[in-house]
């Protein structure tokens, strides 16, 4: 099976995660890696079965490259919060400051030859077949996606929140007991509630639960009961998912019921 691993504008953490998957050596003989520029100078965009793409589209070059990757891939997987929701750099649009103003604030009147833009997720430009969430994705998930593709199957995306894993892990609830703005109820599971295990409230790095499947009617309402206001939850969710189209809808659902 031929695969490509690509990075647009990002921190390169998803690619790094893919590079350091411990059990990767057990299955590498199943894959022919055609493109992994972070690790190999022998990389070329050519036809592959699956292309994994990290990062947001933040320059004209990013868009051009993404289209080329799409044309050459049977399956395209968006990996990580930047590729799926625009990532932290996607917040720029949320901060009520235009790209030009941001550019001027940083570079002054100087000109730069390349065109930068407000960061956008991949599906604004091309068809995305699967999403592999995380900031960065977990090793188990990477293995699961690779393994399902390798046997000719496909991965099933999680549609339940961090709370589901957190309760199973037996952690005390930070939201209920400490009233801290833990985003567990609205964030997609897969991390095994790592931060809560460390006593740290979820910041939503994996992005919102898809398919409208957050726990609106139970835990999410605790936000309201604890006096954590709508704006605060929205601002916090927007850190990693500012460009999620259903963000407002989700928040309304939490606060309306």
């Amino acid at each position: 099976m031929k695969i490509g691993i690509h990075g647009l504008t990002s921190c390169y953490g998803c690619q790094l995660s893919m590079a350091i998957v411990k059990r990767i050596l057990d299955i590498t003989d199943k894959f022919d890696i055609k493109y992994f520029y972070m690790l190999s100078s022998a990389s070329k965009i050519e036809h592959v079965d699956v292309a994994f793409v990290e990062g947001s589209v933040s320059t004209d070059n990013d868009e051009e490259e993404l289209r080329k990757i799409r044309e050459n891939a049977d399956i395209l997987v968006a990996i990580g919060s930047c590729a799926i929701h625009g990532g932290v750099q996607g917040m720029l649009s949320n901060d009520k400051i235009s790209y030009d103003d941001a550019f001027r604030a940083v570079y002054g009147d100087r000109k730069i030859e390349y065109n930068g833009r407000i960061a956008r997720p991949l599906d604004k430009f091309v068809k995305v077949d699967y999403h592999l969430p995380g900031c960065p994705p977990e090793e188990d998930e990477i293995m699961y996606y690779l393994a399902t593709f390798a046997i000719g199957s496909w991965p099933e995306e999680r549609d339940y929140p961090v709370c589901a894993e957190c309760i199973r892990a037996g952690n005390p609830c930070i939201l209920i007991e400490k009233g801290e703005p833990c985003l567990g109820p609205v964030t997609v599971a897969g991390c095994d509630a790592r931060c809560i295990k460390y006593g740290i409230p979820c910041i939503g790095c994996r992005g919102p639960v898809p398919k409208g499947a957050a726990w609106f009617d139970s835990l999410a309402r605790v936000f309201r009961e604890k006096g954590i206001d709508k704006e605060q939850v929205k601002e916090r969710m927007a850190i990693f998912a500012s460009q999620y189209e259903k963000l407002d809808e989700m928040i309304d659902k939490v606060y309306e019921g």
Binding site: L8, T9, S10, C11, Y12, G13, C14, L16, S17, A19, I20, K22, I33, F36, Y37, M38, L39, S40, S41, A42, S43, S56, S58, T59, N61, D62, G87, V88, Q89, M91, L92, D95, I97, A102, F103, A105, V106, Y107, G108, R110, K111, I112, E113, Y114, G116, R117, A119, C135, P136, R194, C195, K197, Y198, G199, I200, I203, C205, E235, R236, I239
Partner: protein
Amino acid sequence: MKITREIQIDHLARIEGKAGIEVEIGEEGANAKLNVTEGPRFFEIITKGKNYDEAAAIFPRICSFCCTPHKLTPIEAIEYALDVKPSEQTKKLRELLYIGSIIESHALHLYLLVVPDYLGYPDAFAVARKEKDLVKDGVFLKDVGAEIQTVLGSRSIHPENAIVGGFGKLPSKEKMERIARMAREGLQKAMSIVKFFAEYEYPSYVNSERRHLSIKPYGGYGVYGNEIVSSDGNSFGIEEYRKNLYEDVASYSFAKRGKFLGEPYMVGAISRVFNNSRLITGKARELMDNYRKFIAPQNCFANNFAQALELVYFLERVKEIISELKDMKDEGLAEPGRMSGEGYAVTEAPRGLLIYYLNIENGIIKNADVITPTGMFLPMMEVDVAAMAEGLWEDGHRDKDFIGGKVEMVARSYDPCISCSVHVTRL
């Protein structure tokens, strides 16, 4: 008639981020440009208006290779601003966590990104087919660094357990002992990679005088301090960084570029080792004394050797810190003494000085400024890239691929981190 030859590498492989190199060789010598084409991400703007805890979780997303420095340095700046006084135990744990990131970053860079150049392969996969043990050593050392960050930080990429005031949860004794064992096991491997790099002479084309900037570490050789020193004897406190470290914009790069006293300068492992060599102890000291000529401040290739030497030093330091942390106790978090203030911090990230300035009002970030090592050394790297191309050209080399390959090695010796350099500075 002016004859100009161009060597262009659109996308430099085996580095973190997206950049290209353009070299023009003309009658008046060579000129090099490192084109940073990775898009800007405006971290100082997106953290504005966030509370300080959230900002401390956002900054690490600047770069996955340096996520721990981009967590611990803003935490230092926040604590400076808000008068938070972390305990001695917290400071030691943070140092250990930070060292974990240096070990992982150096191991990844040296074994997976640099060694293929020295052995003439396109990547570490190809190296692994011939020299399996060498790559395995690298992966093991990378794992030591990753394990330290996982145990102390909750995971190796974007660790969340280090927070303002301390740690969410303390590591268990068993896990700390496991890290110490891994560090012990890694030491021999790290010593071999020092010897590996000592087998290669540095290309003399890139020899030139330059200043090296590093922190003056608190106590022994390390990553924390509050004063920046230059190899020519200059020094300044972190609060004075803006007056001293000038940043410029070039039309071909989204990364800002540093100057000190009007000239390009170098930061990173070689700068640390050169400026603080008297503080290096243990096995690293012995190796350094044996291979003294490789600590060559005039040559950027010395950076690879210095990174290898640091691997040895920091692996020994890991064991020391763990033995000092035998009796950890749950102290809770240190609390802020005020909710507004300005904070400065400088640390030694794997690639060199990392500076954070934060202005906080009522717990909310008002202004941020981040200067990364790659932004600092880009102009110096261009000087070296041009010198390499020119030297090869004058010696009669005409094969663009050959010159291109050598020029890439110069860039890679700096271990550039392009994501860091385009986080984009100052409001």
